[in-house]
Protein backbone atom coordinates (compact mmCIF):
# COMPACT_ATOMS: atom_id res chain seq x y z
CA UNK A 1 0.00 0.00 0.00
CA UNK A 2 1.38 3.42 -0.97
CA UNK A 3 1.58 5.87 1.90
CA UNK A 4 -0.55 8.97 1.50
CA UNK A 5 0.59 10.50 4.79
CA UNK A 6 3.98 10.02 6.40
CA UNK A 7 5.04 11.75 9.61
CA UNK A 8 8.42 11.30 11.27
CA UNK A 9 9.31 12.41 14.78
CA UNK A 10 6.85 15.29 15.02
CA UNK A 11 7.47 17.56 17.95
CA UNK A 12 5.51 20.70 18.77
CA UNK A 13 5.81 22.57 22.03
CA UNK A 14 3.60 25.32 23.42
CA UNK A 15 5.63 26.86 26.20
CA UNK A 16 6.63 24.05 28.53
CA UNK A 17 4.01 21.68 27.17
CA UNK A 18 4.81 19.24 24.40
CA UNK A 19 1.61 18.95 22.36
CA UNK A 20 3.38 16.47 20.10
CA UNK A 21 6.28 14.51 21.43
CA UNK A 22 7.98 12.51 18.72
CA UNK A 23 4.94 11.28 16.81
CA UNK A 24 5.62 9.08 13.79
CA UNK A 25 2.97 7.45 11.68
CA UNK A 26 1.98 6.61 8.17
CA UNK A 27 -1.40 6.27 6.55
CA UNK A 28 -1.85 4.30 3.40
CA UNK A 29 -3.62 5.62 0.32
CA UNK A 30 -7.32 4.90 0.58
CA UNK A 31 -7.06 4.04 4.25
CA UNK A 32 -9.33 5.43 6.95
CA UNK A 33 -7.23 6.27 9.99
CA UNK A 34 -8.94 7.35 13.20
CA UNK A 35 -7.04 9.21 15.87
CA UNK A 36 -8.47 8.93 19.36
CA UNK A 37 -7.23 10.29 22.63
CA UNK A 38 -8.26 12.17 25.74
CA UNK A 39 -8.94 15.91 25.62
CA UNK A 40 -5.68 17.79 25.33
CA UNK A 41 -3.82 14.76 24.02
CA UNK A 42 -2.63 16.67 20.95
CA UNK A 43 -5.05 15.39 18.30
CA UNK A 44 -5.80 18.79 16.79
CA UNK A 45 -2.13 19.75 16.86
CA UNK A 46 -1.36 16.55 14.98
CA UNK A 47 -4.00 17.35 12.35
CA UNK A 48 -2.49 20.82 12.03
CA UNK A 49 0.97 19.35 11.70
CA UNK A 50 -0.20 16.99 8.96
CA UNK A 51 -1.99 19.77 7.07
CA UNK A 52 0.90 22.20 7.42
CA UNK A 53 -1.07 24.66 9.52
CA UNK A 54 1.23 24.61 12.50
CA UNK A 55 4.96 25.06 12.64
CA UNK A 56 6.90 22.10 13.98
CA UNK A 57 9.83 22.28 16.36
CA UNK A 58 11.18 19.17 14.72
CA UNK A 59 10.12 16.30 12.51
CA UNK A 60 8.87 16.05 8.98
CA UNK A 61 5.54 15.53 7.24
CA UNK A 62 4.78 14.32 3.77
CA UNK A 63 1.30 14.20 2.24
CA UNK A 64 1.03 12.57 -1.18
CA UNK A 65 4.80 12.83 -1.44
CA UNK A 66 5.07 16.56 -0.71
CA UNK A 67 5.22 18.83 2.27
CA UNK A 68 1.58 19.81 2.87
CA UNK A 69 2.38 23.48 2.27
CA UNK A 70 3.85 22.67 -1.15
CA UNK A 71 1.14 20.23 -2.11
CA UNK A 72 -1.41 20.99 -4.82
CA UNK A 73 -4.04 22.21 -2.41
CA UNK A 74 -6.91 20.96 -4.50
CA UNK A 75 -5.88 17.47 -3.39
CA UNK A 76 -6.42 18.24 0.29
CA UNK A 77 -9.64 18.65 2.28
CA UNK A 78 -9.86 19.86 5.87
CA UNK A 79 -12.56 20.26 8.44
CA UNK A 80 -10.88 22.00 11.38
CA UNK A 81 -12.10 21.51 14.92
CA UNK A 82 -14.23 24.40 16.26
CA UNK A 83 -14.63 25.71 12.74
CA UNK A 84 -16.76 28.80 12.41
CA UNK A 85 -17.23 29.79 8.75
CA UNK A 86 -18.03 33.30 7.47
CA UNK A 87 -21.33 34.72 8.71
CA UNK A 88 -24.56 35.61 6.99
CA UNK A 89 -24.25 32.96 4.29
CA UNK A 90 -26.65 30.12 3.67
CA UNK A 91 -25.42 26.56 3.68
CA UNK A 92 -25.52 26.56 -0.11
CA UNK A 93 -23.66 29.86 -0.35
CA UNK A 94 -21.02 28.63 2.07
CA UNK A 95 -20.38 25.48 0.11
CA UNK A 96 -20.44 27.50 -3.14
CA UNK A 97 -17.95 29.96 -1.61
CA UNK A 98 -15.45 27.22 -0.82
CA UNK A 99 -16.13 25.60 -4.20
CA UNK A 100 -15.23 28.93 -5.81
CA UNK A 101 -11.72 28.69 -4.37
CA UNK A 102 -10.90 25.69 -6.56
CA UNK A 103 -10.48 25.36 -10.30
CA UNK A 104 -12.69 22.32 -10.29
CA UNK A 105 -15.28 21.63 -7.67
CA UNK A 106 -18.36 19.58 -7.05
CA UNK A 107 -21.82 21.01 -7.42
CA UNK A 108 -22.75 22.59 -4.04
CA UNK A 109 -26.20 21.06 -4.17
CA UNK A 110 -24.86 17.53 -4.52
CA UNK A 111 -22.35 18.16 -1.73
CA UNK A 112 -25.10 19.29 0.61
CA UNK A 113 -27.20 16.31 -0.38
CA UNK A 114 -24.32 13.96 0.37
CA UNK A 115 -24.00 15.32 3.92
CA UNK A 116 -27.74 15.09 4.48
CA UNK A 117 -28.42 18.83 4.45
CA UNK A 118 -31.89 19.48 3.17
CA UNK A 119 -32.04 23.10 4.36
CA UNK A 120 -29.80 25.14 2.12
CA UNK A 121 -31.56 28.50 2.35
CA UNK A 122 -31.10 29.39 6.03
CA UNK A 123 -28.17 31.42 7.21
CA UNK A 124 -25.51 29.23 8.72
CA UNK A 125 -25.70 30.79 12.18
CA UNK A 126 -29.42 30.03 12.33
CA UNK A 127 -28.97 26.33 11.60
CA UNK A 128 -28.95 23.74 14.38
CA UNK A 129 -25.57 22.59 15.67
CA UNK A 130 -25.83 19.33 13.75
CA UNK A 131 -26.79 21.08 10.52
CA UNK A 132 -23.90 23.48 10.96
CA UNK A 133 -21.45 20.64 11.38
CA UNK A 134 -22.84 18.83 8.34
CA UNK A 135 -22.44 21.99 6.30
CA UNK A 136 -18.86 22.31 7.52
CA UNK A 137 -18.16 18.73 6.51
CA UNK A 138 -19.57 19.66 3.11
CA UNK A 139 -17.07 22.50 2.78
CA UNK A 140 -14.28 19.95 3.16
CA UNK A 141 -15.66 17.83 0.33
CA UNK A 142 -16.25 20.43 -2.39
CA UNK A 143 -12.91 19.82 -4.09
CA UNK A 144 -13.27 16.03 -4.04
CA UNK A 145 -9.94 15.72 -2.16
CA UNK A 146 -7.53 12.80 -2.35
CA UNK A 147 -6.72 13.19 1.34
CA UNK A 148 -9.39 14.34 3.74
CA UNK A 149 -8.74 15.48 7.31
CA UNK A 150 -11.78 15.59 9.56
CA UNK A 151 -11.20 16.90 13.07
CA UNK A 152 -14.13 15.62 15.14
CA UNK A 153 -16.59 15.67 12.24
CA UNK A 154 -19.62 14.32 14.08
CA UNK A 155 -19.46 16.47 17.19
CA UNK A 156 -22.94 17.80 17.86
CA UNK A 157 -24.63 15.71 15.21
CA UNK A 158 -27.63 13.58 16.15
CA UNK A 159 -27.40 9.77 15.80
CA UNK A 160 -29.17 9.68 12.44
CA UNK A 161 -26.95 12.40 11.05
CA UNK A 162 -23.89 10.68 12.46
CA UNK A 163 -24.77 7.46 10.69
CA UNK A 164 -25.34 9.38 7.45
CA UNK A 165 -21.87 10.89 7.76
CA UNK A 166 -20.40 7.50 8.55
CA UNK A 167 -21.89 6.18 5.32
CA UNK A 168 -20.45 9.14 3.51
CA UNK A 169 -16.95 8.46 4.87
CA UNK A 170 -17.32 4.82 3.94
CA UNK A 171 -18.28 5.81 0.40
CA UNK A 172 -15.32 8.19 0.19
CA UNK A 173 -12.97 5.47 1.39
CA UNK A 174 -14.46 3.03 -1.09
CA UNK A 175 -13.74 5.51 -3.87
CA UNK A 176 -10.09 5.72 -2.80
CA UNK A 177 -10.04 8.85 -0.63
CA UNK A 178 -7.61 8.71 2.27
CA UNK A 179 -9.41 9.81 5.41
CA UNK A 180 -7.70 10.92 8.60
CA UNK A 181 -10.22 11.66 11.31
CA UNK A 182 -10.13 12.44 14.98
CA UNK A 183 -12.97 11.47 17.25
CA UNK A 184 -14.05 10.88 20.81
CA UNK A 185 -16.66 8.44 19.59
CA UNK A 186 -15.22 4.94 19.85
CA UNK A 187 -18.15 3.45 17.93
CA UNK A 188 -17.28 5.83 15.10
CA UNK A 189 -13.63 4.82 15.12
CA UNK A 190 -14.49 1.15 15.38
CA UNK A 191 -16.94 1.30 12.48
CA UNK A 192 -15.02 3.54 10.10
CA UNK A 193 -11.34 3.06 10.68
CA UNK A 194 -9.03 0.57 9.07
CA UNK A 195 -6.60 1.51 11.79
CA UNK A 196 -6.89 3.47 14.99
CA UNK A 197 -4.14 5.41 16.73
CA UNK A 198 -4.32 6.41 20.36
CA UNK A 199 -2.62 9.68 21.23
CA UNK A 200 -1.92 10.46 24.88
CA UNK A 201 0.14 13.36 26.16
CA UNK A 202 1.42 14.07 22.67
CA UNK A 203 2.61 10.52 22.05
CA UNK A 204 1.11 7.88 19.83
CA UNK A 205 0.84 5.05 22.32
CA UNK A 206 -0.81 2.39 20.17
CA UNK A 207 -1.77 1.84 16.57
CA UNK A 208 -3.68 -1.04 15.08
CA UNK A 209 -6.92 -2.18 13.58
CA UNK A 210 -9.89 -1.83 15.94
CA UNK A 211 -10.08 -5.63 16.29
CA UNK A 212 -6.38 -5.88 17.12
CA UNK A 213 -6.55 -3.11 19.68
CA UNK A 214 -9.61 -4.64 21.30
CA UNK A 215 -8.01 -8.07 21.40
CA UNK A 216 -4.82 -6.65 22.81
CA UNK A 217 -6.12 -4.11 25.28
CA UNK A 218 -9.88 -4.51 25.57
CA UNK A 219 -9.71 -7.05 28.34
CA UNK A 220 -11.94 -10.07 28.67
CA UNK A 221 -15.62 -10.67 28.16
CA UNK A 222 -17.63 -9.88 31.26
CA UNK A 223 -20.93 -10.12 33.01
CA UNK A 224 -22.06 -6.98 34.78
CA UNK A 225 -24.65 -7.52 37.52
CA UNK A 226 -26.56 -4.42 38.69
CA UNK A 227 -27.37 -5.23 42.30
CA UNK A 228 -30.63 -4.30 43.98
CA UNK A 229 -29.41 -2.36 46.97
CA UNK A 230 -30.35 0.84 48.71
CA UNK A 231 -27.25 1.06 50.86
CA UNK A 232 -23.77 2.10 49.94
CA UNK A 233 -22.37 -1.26 51.02
CA UNK A 234 -22.40 -4.33 48.86
CA UNK A 235 -24.94 -6.85 50.20
CA UNK A 236 -23.46 -9.83 52.06
CA UNK A 237 -25.19 -12.20 49.65
CA UNK A 238 -23.39 -10.57 46.72
CA UNK A 239 -20.12 -10.81 48.59
CA UNK A 240 -20.72 -14.51 49.07
CA UNK A 241 -21.60 -14.99 45.40
CA UNK A 242 -18.44 -13.12 44.42
CA UNK A 243 -16.36 -15.44 46.59
CA UNK A 244 -18.03 -18.49 45.05
CA UNK A 245 -17.37 -17.22 41.53
CA UNK A 246 -13.77 -16.39 42.39
CA UNK A 247 -13.36 -19.89 43.75
CA UNK A 248 -14.72 -21.16 40.44
CA UNK A 249 -11.89 -19.37 38.64
CA UNK A 250 -13.56 -16.15 37.53
CA UNK A 251 -12.05 -12.74 38.00
CA UNK A 252 -14.59 -10.79 40.07
CA UNK A 253 -14.70 -7.11 40.82
CA UNK A 254 -17.25 -5.58 43.18
CA UNK A 255 -18.45 -2.03 43.52
CA UNK A 256 -21.13 -0.58 45.81
CA UNK A 257 -23.92 -1.55 43.48
CA UNK A 258 -22.53 -4.00 40.97
CA UNK A 259 -20.61 -7.17 40.42
CA UNK A 260 -18.34 -7.46 37.41
CA UNK A 261 -17.34 -11.01 36.52
CA UNK A 262 -14.63 -11.19 33.88
CA UNK A 263 -13.63 -13.98 31.56
CA UNK A 264 -17.15 -15.27 31.20
CA UNK A 265 -17.83 -17.10 27.95
CA UNK A 266 -21.45 -17.35 26.73
CA UNK A 267 -21.50 -20.94 28.00
CA UNK A 268 -20.47 -19.77 31.49
CA UNK A 269 -23.33 -17.30 31.93
CA UNK A 270 -25.52 -20.00 33.46
CA UNK A 271 -22.86 -20.72 36.05
CA UNK A 272 -22.80 -17.06 37.08
CA UNK A 273 -26.59 -16.93 37.33
CA UNK A 274 -26.59 -20.12 39.38
CA UNK A 275 -24.04 -18.67 41.80
CA UNK A 276 -26.18 -15.56 42.24
CA UNK A 277 -29.31 -17.65 42.77
CA UNK A 278 -27.54 -19.92 45.26
CA UNK A 279 -26.79 -16.92 47.46
CA UNK A 280 -30.21 -15.34 46.80
CA UNK A 281 -28.61 -12.21 45.40
CA UNK A 282 -31.16 -9.60 44.35
CA UNK A 283 -30.29 -7.82 41.13
CA UNK A 284 -32.00 -5.52 38.65
CA UNK A 285 -30.11 -6.43 35.53
CA UNK A 286 -27.45 -8.73 34.25
CA UNK A 287 -25.59 -8.10 31.01
CA UNK A 288 -22.90 -10.02 29.17
CA UNK A 289 -20.61 -7.88 27.07
CA UNK A 290 -17.63 -8.32 24.85
CA UNK A 291 -14.80 -5.81 25.11
CA UNK A 292 -14.84 -3.00 22.59
CA UNK A 293 -12.62 -0.18 21.48
CA UNK A 294 -13.76 1.98 24.37
CA UNK A 295 -12.40 -0.63 26.78
CA UNK A 296 -9.11 -0.65 24.92
CA UNK A 297 -9.05 3.16 24.91
CA UNK A 298 -9.76 3.36 28.64
CA UNK A 299 -7.12 0.75 29.35
CA UNK A 300 -4.45 2.48 27.28
CA UNK A 301 -5.36 6.01 28.36
CA UNK A 302 -5.56 4.82 31.94
CA UNK A 303 -2.12 3.29 31.77
CA UNK A 304 -0.72 6.43 30.29
CA UNK A 305 -2.27 8.61 32.97
CA UNK A 306 -1.43 6.19 35.77
CA UNK A 307 2.15 5.89 34.66
CA UNK A 308 2.50 9.61 34.27
CA UNK A 309 5.02 8.71 31.63
CA UNK A 310 3.57 7.74 28.33
CA UNK A 311 6.94 6.59 27.11
CA UNK A 312 6.21 3.35 28.92
CA UNK A 313 3.63 2.67 26.25
CA UNK A 314 5.19 4.54 23.43
CA UNK A 315 8.26 2.56 22.73
CA UNK A 316 6.63 1.56 19.51
CA UNK A 317 6.56 5.08 18.19
CA UNK A 318 9.52 4.49 15.94
CA UNK A 319 7.79 1.54 14.40
CA UNK A 320 4.26 2.68 13.82
CA UNK A 321 5.15 4.40 10.60
CA UNK A 322 5.97 1.04 9.06
CA UNK A 323 3.17 -0.78 10.70
CA UNK A 324 0.16 -1.38 8.51
CA UNK A 325 -2.24 -3.97 9.77
CA UNK A 326 -0.32 -4.87 12.89
CA UNK A 327 -0.91 -3.79 16.42
CA UNK A 328 1.98 -1.75 17.67
CA UNK A 329 2.51 -1.64 21.41
CA UNK A 330 5.23 -1.32 23.95
CA UNK A 331 6.37 -4.82 24.79
CA UNK A 332 7.46 -3.96 28.28
CA UNK A 333 4.03 -2.81 29.21
CA UNK A 334 1.97 -5.80 28.21
Amino acid sequence: MTDAIVAEGLRREYGDTAALDGVSLSVGAGEVFALVGPNGAGKTTLVRALTGTTTLDSGSVSVLGDHPRNLDRSRLGLLPQSFDPPERLTARELVAYYAGLYDEARDPGSVLESVGMDDDATWYEKLSGGQQRRTCVGTALVNDPDVLFLDEPTTGIDPAGRRALWSLVEDLAASGTTVFLTTHDMAEAERLADRVGLLADGRLVAVGSPAELVAEFGGRTRVVVDLTTDTTDIPASADAAASALADAGFEVETTDDSLVVRGVSPEDIGEVVAALDAEAVAYDALAWTEPDLEDAFLELAGRSVADGDPTALAGMNDDVGENHGETAVAEGDR
Binding site: G52, R73, Q81, F83, R88, L94, Y97, A99
Partner: protein, 252 residues
Protein backbone atom coordinates in the same frame (compact mmCIF):
# COMPACT_ATOMS: atom_id res chain seq x y z
CA UNK B 1 -8.04 33.69 -14.35
CA UNK B 2 -8.13 31.23 -11.49
CA UNK B 3 -6.74 33.81 -9.07
CA UNK B 4 -9.42 36.21 -10.27
CA UNK B 5 -12.16 33.66 -9.65
CA UNK B 6 -10.81 32.92 -6.17
CA UNK B 7 -10.74 36.63 -5.35
CA UNK B 8 -14.26 36.95 -6.72
CA UNK B 9 -15.48 34.06 -4.55
CA UNK B 10 -13.89 35.54 -1.44
CA UNK B 11 -15.09 39.07 -2.21
CA UNK B 12 -18.63 37.87 -2.91
CA UNK B 13 -18.78 36.06 0.42
CA UNK B 14 -17.33 39.10 2.23
CA UNK B 15 -19.78 41.44 0.50
CA UNK B 16 -22.75 39.26 1.42
CA UNK B 17 -21.51 39.04 4.99
CA UNK B 18 -21.45 42.84 5.10
CA UNK B 19 -24.67 43.80 3.35
CA UNK B 20 -26.68 41.27 5.35
CA UNK B 21 -25.74 42.94 8.62
CA UNK B 22 -28.32 45.66 8.64
CA UNK B 23 -26.90 47.47 11.65
CA UNK B 24 -23.42 47.50 10.17
CA UNK B 25 -24.69 48.76 6.83
CA UNK B 26 -26.83 51.45 8.43
CA UNK B 27 -24.11 52.86 10.64
CA UNK B 28 -21.42 52.56 7.99
CA UNK B 29 -23.35 54.91 5.76
CA UNK B 30 -25.03 56.93 8.49
CA UNK B 31 -21.61 57.74 9.92
CA UNK B 32 -20.61 60.10 7.08
CA UNK B 33 -24.03 61.71 7.24
CA UNK B 34 -23.74 62.62 10.92
CA UNK B 35 -20.13 63.60 10.34
CA UNK B 36 -21.12 66.23 7.79
CA UNK B 37 -24.24 67.31 9.64
CA UNK B 38 -22.35 67.90 12.88
CA UNK B 39 -19.06 69.29 11.70
CA UNK B 40 -19.86 70.94 8.39
CA UNK B 41 -23.39 72.17 9.12
CA UNK B 42 -23.92 72.43 12.86
CA UNK B 43 -20.47 73.66 13.84
CA UNK B 44 -19.94 75.32 10.48
CA UNK B 45 -16.89 77.18 9.33
CA UNK B 46 -15.70 80.63 10.07
CA UNK B 47 -13.02 81.35 7.46
CA UNK B 48 -10.29 83.54 8.84
CA UNK B 49 -12.22 84.18 12.00
CA UNK B 50 -10.69 81.57 14.28
CA UNK B 51 -12.70 78.87 15.98
CA UNK B 52 -12.72 75.15 15.41
CA UNK B 53 -13.02 75.34 11.61
CA UNK B 54 -11.18 78.45 10.52
CA UNK B 55 -10.59 77.43 6.94
CA UNK B 56 -13.16 77.50 4.12
CA UNK B 57 -15.54 74.54 4.12
CA UNK B 58 -13.92 72.94 1.08
CA UNK B 59 -10.62 72.67 2.93
CA UNK B 60 -12.10 70.01 5.19
CA UNK B 61 -13.41 67.63 2.50
CA UNK B 62 -10.20 65.54 2.66
CA UNK B 63 -10.70 65.32 6.43
CA UNK B 64 -14.24 64.00 6.14
CA UNK B 65 -13.13 61.51 3.50
CA UNK B 66 -10.15 60.60 5.67
CA UNK B 67 -12.46 59.60 8.52
CA UNK B 68 -14.09 56.83 6.48
CA UNK B 69 -10.89 55.96 4.61
CA UNK B 70 -9.13 55.47 7.92
CA UNK B 71 -11.67 54.02 10.34
CA UNK B 72 -13.65 51.72 8.02
CA UNK B 73 -10.82 49.46 6.83
CA UNK B 74 -8.91 49.54 10.10
CA UNK B 75 -11.85 48.34 12.14
CA UNK B 76 -13.48 46.15 9.51
CA UNK B 77 -10.42 44.29 8.24
CA UNK B 78 -8.88 44.14 11.70
CA UNK B 79 -11.94 42.56 13.27
CA UNK B 80 -12.54 40.32 10.24
CA UNK B 81 -9.02 38.93 10.58
CA UNK B 82 -9.56 38.46 14.32
CA UNK B 83 -12.86 36.66 13.68
CA UNK B 84 -11.20 34.48 11.06
CA UNK B 85 -8.50 33.54 13.54
CA UNK B 86 -10.98 32.76 16.29
CA UNK B 87 -13.10 30.63 13.96
CA UNK B 88 -10.11 28.71 12.57
CA UNK B 89 -11.00 30.03 9.11
CA UNK B 90 -7.43 30.75 8.13
CA UNK B 91 -6.53 27.19 9.12
CA UNK B 92 -9.02 25.97 6.54
CA UNK B 93 -8.12 28.57 3.92
CA UNK B 94 -4.46 27.55 4.25
CA UNK B 95 -5.45 24.20 2.78
CA UNK B 96 -7.22 25.78 -0.21
CA UNK B 97 -5.62 27.43 -3.26
CA UNK B 98 -6.58 30.91 -1.96
CA UNK B 99 -3.41 32.80 -1.04
CA UNK B 100 -3.10 35.35 1.73
CA UNK B 101 -2.59 38.15 -0.80
CA UNK B 102 -5.73 37.08 -2.67
CA UNK B 103 -7.69 37.04 0.57
CA UNK B 104 -6.54 40.53 1.45
CA UNK B 105 -7.16 41.78 -2.09
CA UNK B 106 -10.74 40.49 -1.95
CA UNK B 107 -11.42 42.20 1.37
CA UNK B 108 -9.68 45.37 0.19
CA UNK B 109 -11.95 45.49 -2.85
CA UNK B 110 -15.02 45.12 -0.66
CA UNK B 111 -13.79 47.83 1.70
CA UNK B 112 -12.85 50.12 -1.16
CA UNK B 113 -16.38 49.72 -2.53
CA UNK B 114 -17.91 50.51 0.86
CA UNK B 115 -15.61 53.49 1.36
CA UNK B 116 -16.29 54.65 -2.18
CA UNK B 117 -20.03 54.67 -1.50
CA UNK B 118 -19.53 56.46 1.81
CA UNK B 119 -17.24 58.94 0.03
CA UNK B 120 -19.93 59.66 -2.53
CA UNK B 121 -22.37 60.38 0.30
CA UNK B 122 -19.85 62.81 1.78
CA UNK B 123 -19.28 64.53 -1.54
CA UNK B 124 -23.01 64.77 -2.18
CA UNK B 125 -23.74 66.18 1.25
CA UNK B 126 -20.86 68.64 1.00
CA UNK B 127 -22.32 69.91 -2.26
CA UNK B 128 -25.90 69.96 -1.03
CA UNK B 129 -25.85 71.17 2.54
CA UNK B 130 -22.64 73.21 2.88
CA UNK B 131 -21.33 76.24 1.08
CA UNK B 132 -18.12 74.43 0.15
CA UNK B 133 -16.56 75.47 -3.14
CA UNK B 134 -15.09 72.35 -4.72
CA UNK B 135 -13.19 72.14 -7.98
CA UNK B 136 -14.41 68.73 -9.07
CA UNK B 137 -14.68 67.60 -12.66
CA UNK B 138 -14.87 64.07 -14.04
CA UNK B 139 -11.09 63.69 -14.16
CA UNK B 140 -10.47 65.07 -10.70
CA UNK B 141 -13.29 62.87 -9.39
CA UNK B 142 -11.55 59.83 -10.84
CA UNK B 143 -8.29 60.94 -9.30
CA UNK B 144 -9.98 61.40 -5.92
CA UNK B 145 -11.32 57.87 -6.35
CA UNK B 146 -7.74 56.72 -6.98
CA UNK B 147 -6.61 58.43 -3.77
CA UNK B 148 -9.49 56.81 -1.87
CA UNK B 149 -8.67 53.40 -3.33
CA UNK B 150 -4.97 53.67 -2.52
CA UNK B 151 -5.62 54.89 1.02
CA UNK B 152 -8.09 52.04 1.47
CA UNK B 153 -5.34 49.60 0.47
CA UNK B 154 -2.97 51.21 2.99
CA UNK B 155 -5.38 50.92 5.87
CA UNK B 156 -6.70 47.48 4.89
CA UNK B 157 -3.08 46.34 5.07
CA UNK B 158 -2.64 48.01 8.44
CA UNK B 159 -5.94 46.50 9.62
CA UNK B 160 -4.71 43.05 8.60
CA UNK B 161 -1.53 43.58 10.58
CA UNK B 162 -3.52 44.66 13.64
CA UNK B 163 -5.96 41.77 13.30
CA UNK B 164 -3.10 39.31 13.01
CA UNK B 165 -1.19 40.58 16.01
CA UNK B 166 -3.96 41.50 18.48
CA UNK B 167 -5.17 38.62 20.62
CA UNK B 168 -8.90 39.33 20.26
CA UNK B 169 -11.49 41.43 18.45
CA UNK B 170 -11.59 43.75 21.45
CA UNK B 171 -7.85 44.14 21.16
CA UNK B 172 -8.18 45.03 17.48
CA UNK B 173 -10.79 47.69 18.18
CA UNK B 174 -8.73 49.22 21.00
CA UNK B 175 -5.57 49.19 18.91
CA UNK B 176 -7.23 50.61 15.81
CA UNK B 177 -8.76 53.44 17.84
CA UNK B 178 -5.42 54.18 19.45
CA UNK B 179 -3.77 54.37 16.04
CA UNK B 180 -6.54 56.03 14.07
CA UNK B 181 -7.34 58.95 16.33
CA UNK B 182 -3.84 60.49 16.39
CA UNK B 183 -3.45 59.80 12.67
CA UNK B 184 -6.70 61.53 11.90
CA UNK B 185 -5.79 64.76 13.63
CA UNK B 186 -2.10 64.87 12.83
CA UNK B 187 -2.30 64.32 9.07
CA UNK B 188 -3.34 67.72 7.71
CA UNK B 189 -6.97 66.75 7.76
CA UNK B 190 -8.78 68.95 10.24
CA UNK B 191 -5.80 70.50 12.02
CA UNK B 192 -3.71 72.79 9.84
CA UNK B 193 0.06 72.43 10.18
CA UNK B 194 0.46 75.96 11.57
CA UNK B 195 -1.54 74.92 14.64
CA UNK B 196 1.12 72.36 15.52
CA UNK B 197 4.58 73.05 16.97
CA UNK B 198 7.21 73.58 14.30
CA UNK B 199 9.32 70.73 15.63
CA UNK B 200 6.41 68.32 15.16
CA UNK B 201 5.48 69.22 11.60
CA UNK B 202 8.02 66.91 9.90
CA UNK B 203 6.42 64.02 11.78
CA UNK B 204 3.23 64.58 9.78
CA UNK B 205 5.08 63.26 6.75
CA UNK B 206 5.25 59.88 8.46
CA UNK B 207 1.49 59.45 8.27
CA UNK B 208 0.12 57.88 5.08
CA UNK B 209 -3.05 59.85 5.66
CA UNK B 210 -1.11 63.11 5.17
CA UNK B 211 -0.47 62.24 1.52
CA UNK B 212 -4.11 61.35 1.06
CA UNK B 213 -5.29 64.61 2.60
CA UNK B 214 -2.77 66.76 0.75
CA UNK B 215 -3.46 65.12 -2.61
CA UNK B 216 -7.24 65.23 -2.32
CA UNK B 217 -7.07 68.84 -1.15
CA UNK B 218 -4.98 69.83 -4.12
CA UNK B 219 -7.47 68.11 -6.42
CA UNK B 220 -10.67 69.43 -4.87
CA UNK B 221 -9.77 72.70 -3.24
CA UNK B 222 -6.32 74.19 -3.83
CA UNK B 223 -5.74 73.19 -7.43
CA UNK B 224 -2.05 72.48 -6.92
CA UNK B 225 0.19 69.54 -7.81
CA UNK B 226 -0.90 66.21 -6.46
CA UNK B 227 1.29 63.75 -8.38
CA UNK B 228 3.92 63.43 -5.67
CA UNK B 229 1.33 62.63 -3.04
CA UNK B 230 -0.30 60.08 -5.34
CA UNK B 231 3.04 58.45 -5.97
CA UNK B 232 3.98 58.27 -2.29
CA UNK B 233 0.55 56.91 -1.42
CA UNK B 234 0.87 54.27 -4.14
CA UNK B 235 4.23 53.20 -2.73
CA UNK B 236 2.81 53.05 0.77
CA UNK B 237 -0.17 51.07 -0.49
CA UNK B 238 2.16 48.47 -1.95
CA UNK B 239 4.19 48.27 1.25
CA UNK B 240 1.19 48.07 3.59
CA UNK B 241 -0.57 45.54 1.38
CA UNK B 242 2.52 43.33 1.38
CA UNK B 243 2.87 43.69 5.16
CA UNK B 244 -0.80 42.89 5.69
CA UNK B 245 -0.74 39.84 3.44
CA UNK B 246 2.41 38.60 5.13
CA UNK B 247 0.94 39.11 8.60
CA UNK B 248 -2.21 37.07 7.91
CA UNK B 249 -1.61 33.75 9.64
CA UNK B 250 -1.23 30.52 7.71
CA UNK B 251 -0.47 28.55 10.84
CA UNK B 252 -1.60 28.60 14.44
Amino acid sequence: MTAASRVRAEATAAWHSFVRRRTAVFFTFFFPVILILIFAVLVGTNPGGGGLFAEPAGYYLPGYLAVVVLFTPLSRVGSTVARHREGNRFEKLATTPLTRAEWLLAHTLVNAAIIGLAGLIILGLMALVTDATLTLGPVSLLLVAAFVALASVVFCGLGAVLGSTADSQDGVIAASNAIALPLLFLSETFVTPDLLPAWFRPAMDLSPLTYFARGVRELTFSGGAFGGDLLVLAGLALAFFAAGAYAIPETD
